[in-house]
Symmetry: C2
Subunit: 281 residues, 2 copies
């Protein structure tokens, strides 16, 4: 009995699914954050917890524990592009075979299956994947410190940064920016917040920016949309395929960029991880 395990893991949590050879889902599981670059030990333990939950649901505890070492696993994990991260995790996993890719590759695989296409994953972070004749290449996804332009975290951070510029009188203060400052108890509170904020904390501000008709919010969102449009133009020059927008801000970008040819996602990142499990070595 060949069993396949898919893991979709990111900065906020991870999901697991176990299927049989025919692709029938036998069990599902959930776990905490699984970014293998920022916290590899926690990621490993959350991946194993989600795996156990899925396998217990599929087979019951006794058989599950016997079968885990025989699993063919596909893992799409945030941080898998950081130096050495995937290789170290590979050695620390108990599965027979494992294919570890970034969450972006798994998402692209799930969204496109075998079709050529461009995936724009616009969530807390941002990353692009291009699949051509079955080969996936990723662009961006470098993280909020150096990249992730147009992502929810990038938008939220840009809004706070602009609000502070407005406090200094170097940008126009608008009701939306003033509200951001007030919500954090003044400019000093914004600075304190930013000192410890994770990407997910900044990203919580994004929906408010996208929905607002405040001039500063509109300008920020417009700049984000323009930046994404420029990237997609560049990618479509080499691969003239439709674009699939996924992630929390995916539908907002899909609406804002309605002139770009688009395709709906065929499946989720977890579906993509299960496809990767078929290719595990």
């Amino acid at each position: 009995m060949a069993l396949f395990l898919g893991i979709d893991g990111g900065g906020t949590g991870c999901r697991a699914a176990v299927t049989d050879q025919a692709g029938r889902v036998l069990g599902r599981g959930h776990g905490g954050p699984a970014n293998i670059a920022s916290d590899p030990e926690t990621a490993r333990s959350n991946i194993l917890a989600a795996t156990n939950e899925a396998m217990f649901a599929a087979l019951g505890p006794a058989e599950a524990l016997r079968e885990i070492p025989h699993l063919m696993a596909g893992l799409g994990l945030a941080g898998a592009n950081a130096a050495g991260a995937a290789g170290r995790l590979r050695l620390a996993l108990p599965f027979a075979r494992a294919r570890i890719e970034t969450d972006a590759v798994a998402a692209a695989k799930g969204a496109l299956v075998a079709a050529d296409g461009i995936v724009a994953a616009m969530g807390t972070g941002s990353v692009y994947a291009v699949q051509q004749r079955g080969v996936i290449r990723c662009y961006g996804g470098w993280g909020l410190v150096l990249g992730d332009e147009g992502s929810g975290a990038w938008l939220g951070r840009a809004a706070l940064s602009l609000a502070l510029r407005a406090v200094d009188g170097f940008a126009a203060m608008t009701p939306f920016l003033q509200q951001l400052i007030d919500q954090h108890g003044g400019a000093a509170g914004v600075v304190s917040f930013a000192q410890t904020a994770r990407a997910a904390d900044f990203a919580q501000l994004a929906p408010g920016i996208v929905q607002s008709d405040d001039p500063a919010a509109t300008e920020l969102w417009g700049a984000a949309v323009s930046g994404v449009a420029a990237i997609l133009l560049r990618l479509r020059e080499t691969v003239p395929s439709p674009v699939t927008f996924i992630g929390g801000l995916g539908s907002a970008y899909a609406t804002a960029l309605s002139q770009v040819p688009q395709a709906a996602a065929k499946g989720t990142a977890l579906d993509g991880a299960l496809l990767l499990a078929r290719e595990a070595e």
Copy 2:
């Protein structure tokens, strides 16, 4: 006998000086980092270590310990603009009186003494201070996450970010950018570095950017200079005073912005802290 204590504290270390009523320096001391927003407990203990060293040098241990509770202290500290930070430190210091300001205010006070003027402090971070009729107002200095445009850390981070865009093919790869990537062991190594890099780590790349004639480095430095020029134009609209450039990149900006009327600094941030001690309450 009235004694005055000046403390100049930042992210890399703190300096102390003790003077008598006439302003004669009786003793000096040094300590570790003193950013009261990011690590208040360490900052407090480093400030006290530097104070003890300066007071022991001035008076000898026995008299020093008797006199410390009678000190009039002026402290210019990184992070003093974060919510509540200065107030909490004030309660934890053993001095008779203390005036706590940001390192930017102390630097401006030291550079300008009583004269009207504009100080552009361009170091690891960036901050501007304007003194008009003895009143100092600061602009910027919000930290690398949300601000510090044109600072050494900002420049270094911008170079790494551009290098990753070049890896993706979204910007031109130049020898300087390729060297940055190679130095970090590839793009994944750049991401790992950025994950844990502090502002000072990014800032170490700045001198190489300023000195390079590589097209990407020249463009980054040009963008930084333009940004600073725009801020100074804005500040000089309200206060038509000369600009004093200080900090590690101060002379590079002074040279690049030679068309801006400039004045030399009259003293250091530690001199400024000693002036603040005279106003301690």
